[in-house]
Symmetry: C2
C-alpha cells in the first residue's frame, strides 16, 4: 500500500482541536453558554482539548479519542463534530508543522460532570470570561464555534429551518420558558416570549396524560405545560 513516490515529501501533523460547547443550568433561571478550557503543559498555558489524527483513523475517530483520553468522557453515537475551518499557518506551532482542523461540538451539561477542565463563560461577542489569551489560535476557534452555534439557534428568519434546541442542551420534557431561556443563553440576546412560543409550538409535542396536558411544578405563578421535540416533521 505504501507508495514511496507519494511519500517523499514532508507531511504535516494533522490535529483536531475541539471547542466543546454546553449550556449550564439549562433548567435553571439563567442558563449560560460555556466552553471547555483545559490547562496544558508542553507548552504551558490554557487551551482547547485536541490531539493528533493517528494512522488509519479518521477525524471523527480522533474526536472520540480526544474525548476519552483528554476530556475523560465516554461518548456514543451522539457526538457530531462540526468542522469550522483549518488553521494552517506554517508557524502557528513553533515546534513542528501542524495543521489543525478546528471543530465545534455540543454536549449536554450532564455528560460533562466528570470532564477534565473548566467550563468558561462566553460573552456576547464570543470572548471568554476573564481568560487571558489561549494558546495557538484557540481564541479564534472559540469565536468561530460560538458563531456557528448561534446561527443555528437563531430562529428569527422566516425560511430558516429552525428547530427547538437542536443540539439537545435541554432534557425533555421542558417548558416553553425553559426552551426560550436556553435559546437566549446561546444567542446572547433576549427574545420576545409570544413570538418565540408561536414559532416553536408547531415543532413541539405536548406531553399528555389521559388526554390532559401535563404541567410542570412551578415555583411561582401558573404552571406551564410540558413539551417534547416533535419526532417527525
Amino acid at each position: 500500500m505504501a507508495n514511496s513516490a507519494l511519500e517523499k515529501y514532508p507531511r504535516p501533523g494533522v490535529t483536531v482541536d475541539l471547542a466543546i460547547l454546553t449550556v449550564v443550568g439549562a433548567t435553571a433561571a439563567i442558563p449560560e453558554l460555556r466552553v471547555l478550557i483545559q490547562d496544558r503543559t508542553d507548552p504551558d498555558g490554557r487551551a482547547l482539548p485536541g490531539g493528533f489524527v493517528r494512522e488509519r483513523t479518521t477525524v471523527a475517530q480522533t474526536t472520540a479519542d480526544v474525548f476519552r483520553r483528554k476530556v475523560g468522557v465516554e461518548f456514543g453515537s451522539e457526538v457530531h463534530p462540526r468542522l469550522l475551518r483549518l488553521f494552517d499557518d506554517p508557524n502557528r506551532d513553533s515546534r513542528s508543522w501542524v495543521i489543525s482542523a478546528a471543530h465545534a461540538i455540543s454536549v449536554r451539561e450532564a455528560d460533562l460532570t466528570s470532564a477534565h477542565g473548566d467550563l468558561v463563560r462566553v460573552d456576547h461577542d464570543g470572548r471568554l470570561d476573564g481568560e487571558s489569551p489561549l494558546q495557538f489560535d484557540h481564541d479564534e476557534i472559540v469565536a468561530d464555534a460560538v458563531r456557528e452555534l448561534r446561527s443555528r439557534y437563531e430562529f428569527r428568519h422566516r425560511y430558516a429551518d429552525t428547530l427547538p434546541d437542536p443540539d439537545g442542551f435541554l432534557d425533555e420534557p421542558f417548558t416553553l420558558h425553559q426552551l426560550r431561556k436556553v435559546h437566549e443563553a446561546v444567542i446572547g440576546e433576549r427574545l420576545h416570549k409570544d413570538n418565540f412560543n408561536r414559532r416553536m409550538k408547531p415543532l413541539l409535542d405536548p406531553v399528555l396524560l389521559d388526554g390532559e396536558p401535563v404541567l410542570a411544578e412551578s415555583l411561582r405563578g401558573r404552571p406551564a405545560a410540558l413539551y417534547r421535540r416533535l419526532t417527525e416533521a
Copy 2:
C-alpha cells in the same frame, strides 16, 4: 524547529481538491452552471484538480499553486477558496494515507478560457452531465460545492443577506434580466421576474450618463437599463 517527539508518528498526506465552478454564457440567453473536470493518470480517470500541501505552505497557497500548475491559470487576490469538508477515509486513496480538504471556488468564465480540462454541466441535483463516476470521492465534492454555492445565490429568504451575483460570474454592467438568468442557472430553478427585480434593485446602482439611465442594446423588445453592484451597503 523540528521536534522529534512530535514527529515520531506517521503523518498523512494533505491534499486540496478543487471544485472550480463557473457560469458559461452569463450574458447569453441560457447561462449554465458548470464545473471543471480533468483527465488524470496515476490512477487513470476523470477527477477534480488537486494537489498536495507542501512544507511551509498553506492551503490557500496550495490552491493558487494548483491553479497555476494543474489548471494553467494565473490568479490574483480574487481567489477565495471555500472549505467544504474533509474527506478522511483512510482507504479513500489505495496508494497512501491521504486526507483531502475539499474546496469550492467560483471563477469567471473569461478566466477559464485557457484552462486545462472540460467544463461539465451540473444538473439540478448536483450531478454531472453524462460523466461516469469521478475518481475517489470527487462526485460528492461536486455535489457539496453546488449545494454551498446555491445556498448563497438563493435570494428568497427574508433575512438572508443576499447579494446580486456575489461571486461575480457576470461582468458589469448588466441588465436585471441577465442577473436573473445567472441566478437561475446557479440555483437550477426559475425565479419570478418582478419579485427578483424588486429584491435586487436596492442592491444595484443604475448606470447613468448625463443623469439619464444607460440602456442595453436589445435584440428584441424594449431595451433594459444597465446596473452595477452597489459598492456600499
